[in-house]
Amino acid sequence: MDFDLMITSFPKLLGATVVTLKLLSASLFFGLFLGLFFAILRLNKNIFINKFAYGYSYIFRGTPLLVQIFIIYFGLGQIEYLRTTFLWVILKEPYWCAIIAFTLNTGAYTSEILRSAFQTIKPGIIEAGKSLGISNKIIFYKIQIPIAIRQSLPAYGNEIILMMKGTSLASTVTLMDLTGVAKYIISTTFKPIEVFIVAGGIYLFMTFIIHNVIKYLEKKYSFQQ
């Protein structure tokens, strides 16, 4: 065991953790809106809209995240037309490509989580709202969405942890996130176990924090007596 290496690599890995957290928070933020949007489309009775939303979630959940990143980072740059638009400013940056890929990926999983949450809301609650003369729009925003969010908290917590692990793939498109820096240190020192313990420890610590925050939120917003 090379404890010196563990101590000297710790600050470097901690610095890289900031990149990981930035990637994670940006993709979760955009992904939540995307997921909500597609969950609402899934509940739509129009078969085309419904199938479109299902197709989106099926494709992004059925292929590895690595393929998605590679298509966006290496693939899209190949389209000549894209290079002339303002989109190119975003797409030539690996950082934004990673965020786009993560957002689309987590959006697909989030849409499934929210859809099942919407579907498990008891019809009685919506009927109660209607009989009180509340408009459909208000029922949706003030009754259905809050209940669906509460209902999906445990599953969404898992999704956050999965996404945190997913951000490690950013290292494959030259980003120096926690895994990227860990790999760099491993390949220069050939001490994989030491680096794994430190980097893995940081990831586990983040998992622990996320897990407990979700647990706290679940308790805070539980409506069962």
Partner: protein, 230 residues
């Protein structure tokens, strides 16, 4: 379309073999995972606190650390570990482990952590009366597990195991970083030499979709088979 031709001019045959490689690695990893689950599920269910801790340590660490990091640990540390063990037995030559073995071991350990959780959940949701009834009838431990608990557990576990299979199948794409020529690696090579990454990565996505679709259909059949009694 000529890019996908079989033979020397296209990448069709290469991608076909790469797909077979992905399937082979996934199945091997899944089996390695079952082996680990077989060891760690009893530990997690054990009443002994120390054994329990070992079981929980395994599933928590593996499920909380990115797959890529585990793969790097095996890729860079695998042959070192084997050489260390070999040196105890007096063998000092360089040993290189094949990428297939490292890859399926790394993915297998990850898949095992998920399988362990699935088996634990399935066993815990079997009615307590079943265990007690087996005891009352004087069935020995072996018979109790294989003839009573296992068949019931499988029915409960199959839907969740199909999720584990999907995760494992998709995780194998990460082994491409170690140089094993599976779908992702082959697409990378093809994309590099033809300068057409969009086509080849999209094609890789289609191959993965096909694999997940076909395996879902097969697993659904298994599910029907194991719930015959219900």
């Amino acid at each position: 379309m000529e890019l996908l031709a079989f033979g020397k001019t296209g990448w069709g045959d290469e991608l076909f073999y790469a797909t077979l490689m992905t399937i082979a690695v996934s199945i091997t990893a899944m089996l390695v995972g079952f082996f680990f689950a077989l060891i760690f599920t009893p530990l997690k269910l054990s009443k002994n606190k120390a054994l329990n801790l070992v079981g929980n340590f395994y599933t928590t660490v593996i499920r909380g650390v990115p797959e890529l990091l585990v793969i790097y640990l095996f890729f860079f540390g695998g042959s070192g570990a084997i050489m260390y063990v070999a040196s105890i037995f007096g063998y000092y030559e360089y040993i290189e482990i094949n990428a297939f073995v490292t890859g399926s071991m790394a993915i297998g350990i990850i898949s095992g952590a998920y399988s362990t959780e699935v088996f634990r959940g399935a066993i815990q949701s079997i009615d307590k009366g079943q265990f007690e009834a087996a005891k009352v009838l004087g069935i020995n431990k072996f018979g109790k597990f294989y003839k009573i608990i296992l068949p019931q557990m499988l029915r409960l576990a199959i839907p969740n195991l199909s999720n584990v299979w999907q995760i494992t199948l998709k995780d194998t794409s990460l082994i491409s970083v170690t140089g094993l020529v599976e779908i992702m690696r082959q697409s990378y090579i093809a994309a590099g030499s033809t300068r057409d990454p969009l086509f080849f990565y999209s094609f890789a996505a289609v191959l993965y979709l096909l694999l997940t679709y076909v395996s879902m259909k097969l697993i659904n059949k298994l599910e029907v088979r194991y719930s015959r009694g219900y």
